[in-house]
């Protein structure tokens, strides 16, 4: 089984789906000959040509508007937004058009597509190359939101997302684009949307994360184990649909929960998870649900390591929640 990083896994998934389905097209800024600024579409232009790997003019709203028209007409567009921070010029098209098309037309039309975009901080990108806007899209009914943390999931989830009948936002953790390596099967396989993965079984406290934060949680859980704490770690992978069952089963067992994300805390997805746990696991809880998150500021440049939830902050939360 070959070893891949996340970029290679994304590239592999795109190639497999483009070979399989002639309606799959990739579009965006620099995705063609250049292969994307992160090289996620490298080689696709040579194999599939300029009509299926389309360099667009520079306008995110136009890229998504184009994708809406293409999807309505029966293509399966996979638009790339170069950085998640630049998704906001396309926000209206995504929230008012992509998300609502099926509903507002009474089911007469649909526009399934996969909007791929690198997200998150830790790459010295300042606030225009570091944001984590997943909650803004989860809040919009009609969209699915997927965030892989490793190459295996990136490939399997992207294949599922492309085959999905609904529009999917696929947030790729760029901080670990190349750092997260792992075995990835050759050929096609699909990881289902809406299924979380328990990556470390444990009994004392449930710690949940997605994307690059899963790596911080994993490290914190290993350090916590050395101190005698028994953490169950969940990689949520798919935020909408959300695998509530796995969360509820885990928290009912451990009685304690910590949600970790790098987006700002207020109205972050951690708030929704905490509310769900409160509604469904109240009688099992031994401590309040804790959140370890980015802060309620724009994403900073110099102090990004202070801003991002690192393993020590998570470890501290583990100690506090268990001791409560």
């Amino acid at each position: 089984m070959p070893t891949m990083n996340i970029i290679q896994a994304v590239n592999d998934a795109l190639r497999i789906e483009m070979r399989k389905d002639p309606d799959v097209v990739v579009l965006g800024e620099d995705v063609g000959k250049f292969g994307g600024v992160f090289r996620a579409t490298q080689g696709l232009y040579d194999e599939f040509g300029a009509d299926r790997v389309i360099d667009t003019p520079l306008a995110e709203g136009g890229i998504i508007g184009t994708a809406v028209g293409m999807a309505l007409y029966g293509l399966k567009p996979v638009p790339e937004i170069q950085f998640a921070d630049f998704i906001f010029p396309a926000f209206d098209q995504i929230v008012n058009e992509v998300a609502k098309y099926r509903y507002r037309s009474g089911g007469q039309y649909a526009c399934p597509m996969v909007i791929r975009t690198p997200y998150g901080g830790g790459i010295k990108g300042g606030h225009y190359h570091s944001q984590s806007p997943e909650a803004m899209f989860i809040h919009t009914a009609g969209l699915k939101v997927v965030v892989p943390s490793n190459p295996y999931d990136a490939k399997g989830l992207l294949i599922s997302a492309i085959r999905d009948p609904d529009p999917v936002l696929f947030f790729e953790p760029k901080r670990v684009y190349r750092a997260a390596k792992g075995d990835v099967p050759e050929g096609e396989y699909a990881e289902p949307l809406g299924k979380a993965k328990i990556t470390r079984p444990g009994n004392q406290v449930t710690v949940m994360a997605w994307g690059s934060m899963w790596h911080e949680v994993d490290q914190a859980a290993r350090e916590a184990a050395a101190e005698g704490y028994d953490c169950e770690v969940i990689d949520l992978r798919s935020l909408q649909p959300l695998d509530l069952e796995t969360i509820v089963a885990s928290v009912s067992k451990t009685g304690r929960a910590i949600v970790v994300h790098e987006a700002p805390r207020t109205c972050g997805f951690g708030a929704e998870i905490a509310a769900l746990i409160q509604e469904r696991c109240f009688l099992h809880l031994e401590a309040p649900v804790a959140r370890v998150t980015g802060f309620d500021t724009p994403f900073p440049y110099t102090l990004e390591n202070e801003y991002l939830p690192r393993a020590p902050r998570i470890l501290k939360a583990i100690r506090e929640v268990v001791a409560y």
Partner: protein, 397 residues
């Protein structure tokens, strides 16, 4: 402190604006193309449609007008919540739509219900959309005049301005990639030319020679803001120059001129010559919608000259001069149209007042997620326990 002192010695006076801008230049460069004169005569060389077809489209304009008038009355009576009509703009709506092929897709703004009906949307379905009742194809989810009609390749309407412009271009691009001859047509008002989607849609289309016809229904007003406060361009058509596409300016109250211009634009698009920006110069005789009163921002005398340019009046004069329509036939046609609307209203009122409660949660995703399933159970239980949960106000119960 004067700016020159900060940035260095004063540069030579910029002569560019004075030299290049000649008022009236674009009005000359983009002349208003008309076929039917106001008195109903037309240049015989420019008879673009056989009389029978011209008469058929005349009937559609009359229906469109009668429908708008009837529905505005219905709104005033409180029977529908809102209406947004196309009174005075019928030639633009129907002339453009009729000039496209059946296989072409229409990406409407919100005044083109005449085009949806022309494409086969049953009148009763349109009226059900206004009621948001059990017969509404949109299942009561959109406010009135936000119809969609898939069998007629008439896409869904969005309230945000100009979003359909880039979508139409994307649809036409998809057809081009699939090797299918489909030309998209999309409608927007002159207000939409200020929006970013207008720019991206036209720019992408021109760069890639996408087969799309961009129709600006220049009706002079974006709610209360006049055209002059929307754009400093003398014409909308001239904007085409900047994008590298063809622009044309046509009398939007002249069905034959609009039809001919659209036909030309479609032919060019289908031949691989790329998009056209078609400016149809017309006038919004009524308010933007039933929610605004134009007397608050528009003197009545501005409207009067446009009433004399009425597209239906002009077409009637044209047809009667050609002997294709006499007064008795016209009166009969108008009675017939009114009866048709009355009948549609009657049929629409026979549907249940609301779509079933479960439709609230359908079509959000292809299959409902657990959240929608749980929330359906929640509202069903709430209504079962206390029907006031489904009433607009507690006091109604």
């Amino acid at each position: 402190m004067r700016r020159e002192h900060v940035v260095g010695p004063p540069t030579r006076h910029h002569p560019r604006e004075a030299r290049d801008y000649e008022p009236g230049r674009f009005l000359k460069e983009f002349p208003l193309h008309t076929v039917i004169r106001e008195d109903g005569t037309a240049d015989p060389d420019e008879v673009v449609l056989p009389d029978a077809e011209a008469l058929r489209l005349y009937r559609w304009m009359v229906l469109n007008r009668a429908l708008d008038e009837r529905m505005i009355t219905l709104q005033r009576q409180g029977r529908i919540g809102f209406y947004i009509g196309s009174i005075g703009e019928e030639a633009t709506v129907l002339g453009t739509a009729a000039a496209m092929d059946e296989r072409d897709w229409i990406y409407p703004c919100y005044r083109e219900h005449g085009a949806a009906l022309l494409r086969g949307m049953p009148l009763v379905t349109f009226v059900c959309d206004l009621f948001g009742n059990g017969g509404d194809a949109m299942k009561g989810r959109q406010m009135p005049c936000h119809e969609a009609w898939r069998p007629g390749r008439f896409t869904s309407i969005s309230s945000p301005i100009a979003t359909q412009v880039s979508q139409a271009m994307g649809g036409a691009w998809a057809a081009k990639l699939k090797g299918e001859e489909m030309v998209a047509i999309t409608y927007f008002g002159e207000g939409a030319t200020s929006a970013h989607d207008f720019h991206t849609g036209l720019n992408f289309a021109a760069v890639r020679k996408i087969p799309v016809v961009f129709v600006c229904r220049n009706n002079g007003w974006a709610i209360s803001v006049p055209r002059e406060r929307q754009t400093a361009s003398e014409t909308i058509a001239q904007k085409a120059i900047a994008y590298g596409m063809r622009g044309e300016r046509v009398d939007g109250n002249d069905l034959l001129a609009v039809y001919a211009a659209t036909r030309r634009a479609r032919a060019r698009a289908a031949a691989g010559e790329g998009p056209t920006l078609l400016e149809c110069v017309t006038y919004r005789i009524e308010g933007h919608s039933t929610s605004d009163d134009p007397r608050a921002y528009r003197p009545a005398e501005l409207v009067e000259p446009w009433k004399r340019k009425d597209p239906i009046l002009r077409m009637r004069r044209y047809l009667s001069k050609r002997g294709a329509l006499d007064e008795a036939q016209d009166a009969a046609l108008r009675d017939e149209v009114r009866e048709q609307i009355q009948q549609a209203l009657k049929e629409a009122e026979a549907f249940p007042a609301k779509p079933p409660i479960e439709t609230l949660f359908a079509d959000v995703y292809e299959e409902p997620l657990w959240q929608q399933r749980e929330q359906l159970a929640e509202i069903e239980a709430a209504v079962a326990a206390d029907p006031r949960a489904a009433n607009p106000r507690h006091s109604d119960a």
